[in-house]
């Protein structure tokens, strides 16, 4: 039992240890420069990422409060990878920041919360993890300490999070009221699709939809994304959404399987709305952070198409897509974060003529945007193809046609950014920037991921074989 705890909770324990190390560093490191601190932190995160690949085991703990298996380990590894990349990209921003250690302690606390949430085998545990992950997140949204917008973003996030948590709690309590249990494994046979249970499900769905910003629960997204520091924005859009999606898929496919027909219709409606509205708003954006916010809303719509397929391909394609989405979105955010940290420029007009002065950054951003748009040979093509293919398995070609149409609309605005960088003339383009090693490395990892992932079928095969255990 005691050794079990150490092996099964390995991911959570390592993160907790890192947080404690940072706490001690905080106390005893008066003379440390920011660069030294950041290097130490990044090495710790790298160790954390590598350690995720060894000694993984299946099992449950504390009754069935906590469970883990290969799929859950994989999901945690993906989140670790994303956190590592974001941390490397934040280097240029944090090297002049006063509160580096606090930032990382809060960031890792949210990651710990997400890990606990993914591993949850019980709604109670799930809710604890969720709260641990959202409250520190609102705090780090406020980390551009001089900007009023940043505090506004934090305020908006905390209010909307509290509201969605409330919805979730109400849903959970109704589930408990109708079935008498909160354990995932015991719940499923007890669900009979009674009206109260359906109501509970709608509340749960709304709560999740808030967290992954699905239309019509998306209104907080753009403002929070715009106000927060770019590193936090990318964390919100990739890691936080990724974690919630993992849980969402798991809950839908495991717990609410008996009412699959009901949630299929709901997902159908939500995905159509999300794709169309996300696209229409993305077209009109000039600030690149807002633009990526709406583009990420659209991507959630495509993911819902994949989830609605409800075959084995569904979860496999969602996880595969999320892996690719981490590379593509972080590639794009990496460039924008870097440029914003050095020059403070964030609008599309500022990026006109960007290619003349910064060809490397332009190519990274272009390849990432192509991957988000799903253009081969980037990995985004494979991700999106399989996602929509999973959705097509149901035979609902109406949904597939709408998704295909939205892919064209989304291509339009991605190409608009590419056009601004390559084709538009500009009297005062962003000057030539010299890139720090760590952010550059992170960008190269993203580009490499985008190019390689589609051509290594073993990755998809592995995820597919694991998704049986969902």
């Amino acid at each position: 039992m005691t050794t079990d705890v150490f092996i099964l909770m390995k991911f959570e324990l390592i993160i907790a240890i890192v947080i404690f190390i940072l706490l001690f560093v905080k106390v005893g490191s008066d003379g440390w420069s920011n660069k030294k601190t950041l290097n130490v932190i990044n090495i710790l995160l790298l160790i954390n990422f590598i350690a995720g690949f060894f000694m993984n085991d299946d099992g449950t703990l504390f009754g069935d409060m906590f469970r883990t298996n290969d799929l859950i380990s994989l999901e945690k590894n993906i989140l670790n990878l994303g956190t590592l990349i974001i941390s490397a990209q934040a280097y240029s921003w944090l090297k002049n920041h006063k509160h580096v250690l606090e930032f990382y302690m809060l960031l890792l606390s949210t990651l710990l919360g997400m890990f606990l949430m993914i591993s949850a085998g019980n709604f109670l545990m799930f809710y604890l993890g969720l709260e641990l992950s959202t409250i520190p997140l609102a705090a780090i949204c406020n980390f551009d300490l001089e900007k009023r917008q940043s505090s506004e973003a934090a305020m908006k996030l905390i209010i909307s999070s509290a509201f969605s948590s409330g919805l979730l709690l109400f849903g959970i309590s109704l589930v408990y009221g109708t079935t008498g249990t909160l354990s995932f494994s015991e719940l499923s046979p007890l669900l009979n699709g009674s009206e109260l249970q359906l109501f509970a499900f709608v509340l749960l769905l709304a709560g999740f939809a808030f967290k992954i910003s699905v239309v019509p629960f998306h209104l907080w997204t753009a403002d929070v994304y715009e106000g927060s520091p770019v590193a936090v924005t990318s964390y919100l859009s990739v890691i936080s959404k990724g974690a919630f999606l993992f849980v969402f898929v798991s809950v839908l496919y495991n717990v609410f399987k008996p009412i699959a027909d009901t949630w299929y219709n709901m997902l159908f409606l939500l995905s159509v709305l999300t794709m169309i509205i996300g696209n229409l708003f993305a077209i009109r954006q000039n600030n690149l952070k807002r633009f990526l916010a709406f583009s990420s809303i659209t991507q959630m719509g495509f993911i819902l198409v994949g989830i609605s397929g409800s075959s084995q391909m569904g979860p496999a394609s969602v996880i595969y897509f999320l892996l690719i989405y981490i590379f593509s979105n972080l590639g794009a955010f990496g460039v924008i974060a870097f440029v914003s940290a050095i020059t403070g420029k964030e609008t599309m007009d500022d990026y006109k003529g960007f290619y003349k002065t910064n060809p490397f950054l332009t190519w990274v951003l272009t390849i990432s945007l192509f991957s988000l748009a799903g253009i081969p040979p980037t990995a985004g093509f494979f991700g999106k193809f399989f996602l929509i293919m999973a959705g097509a398995g149901k035979g609902n070609y109406m949904l597939i046609s709408i998704a295909a149409l939205n892919m064209i609309i989304s291509l339009y605005y991605y190409l608009k950014v590419v056009k601004a960088m390559f084709m538009d003339a500009n009297d005062q383009p962003i000057e030539k920037l010299s890139i720090d090693t760590l952010p550059k490395l992170a960008m190269l990892i993203c580009v490499a991921g985008i190019i390689v992932v589609g051509f290594v079928p073993a990755i998809y095969d592995y995820i597919y074989s694991l998704s049986l255990t969902f």
Partner: protein, 501 residues
């Protein structure tokens, strides 16, 4: 022979270009790469003949099948028949000529040649694919380089044209995407699993109701690439804004992706639906032919003349496919090859003239034959091929399409054939008028006297394309022998499924 070479050589060339410094290295690598590619395709042609001579009469030769995504039954499956070889030959001729024509591109030359080579990679991969996933993958690869080529190096309202072209072509591929998924989920390999394999799907009998739903998706999707009326509007804008080499690639290669897809995927895999929708295809193709011809009459810009005439000429491809007789499909394939070579040559000549005179308006030119005899001769030859002069490839192709179309005795088909034939007269009018204005007559501008004739690279480029045009024009039998086993398989397939019903 290993067909993957056809993808690996351009890939290697493109990667090498990334590591080059200066225009001289870049263009040398690009030239060497495309010459090697041309030799490989010629070798492929001979290997194909040799294989056929030894009595190997399987549908596809040099097949290679490698699992890609096992759980989804997606394979990297490649192979060629005569039709694919004809298209591959066309591609390698046009690519080599395009590289030579852009020899002096100073602006961002590295990116320019990289994108050209990358575009050709998509085309090669597309023509050898026997798996619908692979095919779709390569089809989309060939779209985005065009956006950048037109938007960065183009002229006129280039950003608008680039965006329009990219969105319309992606719209086409989105339709194809839905069509392919629909096919996939209606296949059954025996154990309940699905397949993207083109040859396997051809052996299955997809229910006619399913075919009728998904045939329009696939056909219109590919049709957008092949300038199907009314989705042809990207053609004039895209072609006229593109830099010379990109126009050549667009007209010579990209539009052929559409025709090939209509034939190989839509018609071959869904023969019943193809029969059922044939009248609609015929009507649309005839409108494209006539509308394209009359629209060309109104154009003053040489590039627009050629672009609109491409709409008209590509109409013949779709007409041939829609007629569903072996001769007409033979004609359609020949027309694809012939039109590819001929428009590429035409655009090359127009590009050469524009580089020197800085105008493309036919009325502002004049008397060019006296100043630049070589370029003018090339221009006239391309024009004559376009209007279907015997001895050049255009005549062979259009004649075959008409013969095949006439074999279809239905009244509608007869009327369509007659109307399409009549368009040749219009073609003659606009071609001869353009030639008369631009090439013949007195020299309109005295500055033109200082202009020089073609340089070595331009001569070489024109010669390559002319060889192809004349080789088909004088001795068409080798091409028709090459493609007819492939078209025969397709047409027999439609007949057997028709009798099965």
């Amino acid at each position: 022979m290993n067909l993957s070479l056809l993808i690996l050589i351009p890939l290697l060339t493109a990667i090498l270009i990334l590591f080059c410094k200066g225009i001289k290295q870049v263009r040398t690598i690009a030239l060497v790469g495309s010459i090697v590619q041309l030799s490989v395709t010629l070798f492929l042609l001979f290997a194909y003949w040799q294989e056929r001579a030894t009595g190997n009469d399987s549908h596809m030769l040099f097949e290679f099948n490698q699992t890609w995504f096992d759980p989804l039954h997606i394979n990297y499956h490649i192979g060629v028949d005569g039709i694919s070889i004809a298209m591959i030959l066309l591609t390698s001729f046009v690519v080599l000529a395009g590289i030579l024509v852009s020899w002096n591109t100073q602006k961002m030359s590295k990116e320019f040649f990289f994108l050209l080579i990358f575009l050709s990679l998509g085309a090669y991969g597309y023509f050898i694919s026997l798996d619908l996933f692979t095919l779709f993958f390569f089809l989309e690869i060939a779209v985005i380089p065009k956006f950048l080529l037109i938007g960065i190096w183009g002229s006129g309202k280039k950003e608008y044209s680039a965006m329009k072209l990219a969105l319309m072509l992606m719209g086409g591929s989105a339709l194809v995407f839905v069509g392919l998924l629909g096919l996939y989920f209606n296949t059954n390999t025996g154990d309940g699993s699905h397949t993207f394999d083109l040859l396997q799907i051809a052996q299955m009998h997809i229910p006619i109701e399913v075919q009728k739903i998904f045939f329009p998706f696939a056909f219109v999707g590919f049709g957008i690439f092949g300038a199907l009326f009314p989705f042809h509007t990207w053609v004039p804008d895209g072609h006229s804004s593109a830099p010379t080499a990109a126009s050549m690639f667009l007209a010579g290669i990209s539009m052929k992706l559409g025709g090939y897809g209509c034939l190989r995927v839509a018609t071959y895999l869904m023969p019943d639906a193809a029969q059922a929708y044939s009248p609609i295809i015929i009507v649309l193709a005839t409108i494209a032919i006539i509308y394209g011809a009359f629209a060309t009459m109104m154009q003053k810009d040489l590039k627009y003349i050629n672009a609109y005439s491409s709409v008209s000429h590509c109409g013949f491809v779709l007409l041939g496919i829609g007629m569903m007789t072996q001769t007409s499909i033979n004609g359609a394939v020949t027309q694809m090859v012939s039109h590819g070579l001929m428009t590429a040559l035409f655009f090359a000549a127009i590009g050469m003239i524009y580089d020197r005179t800085h105008t493309r308006i036919a009325a502002q030119l004049g008397g060019l034959l006296k100043i630049m005899p070589f370029i003018s001769t090339v221009f006239v030859l391309a024009g004559l091929c376009s209007l279907g002069l015997p001895g050049l490839s255009g005549f062979v192709a259009e004649m075959t399409v008409f013969m095949g179309s006439w074999q279809n005795p239905d009244a509608l088909y007869r009327i369509a054939t007659i109307l399409s034939c009549a368009s040749i007269v219009v073609t003659a009018v606009y071609i001869l008028r353009a030639v008369g204005q631009a090439i013949m007559g007195p020299i309109t501008d005295e500055h033109y006297n200082q202009l020089t004739d073609a340089t070595w690279n331009e001569k070489f480029a024109a010669a390559i394309l002319l060889i192809g045009i004349i080789a088909i024009g004088i001795a068409p039998f080798w091409l028709s022998n090459l493609i007819s086993p492939g078209t025969k398989t397709i047409i027999e397939h439609t007949i057997t499924t028709a009798t099965l019903k």
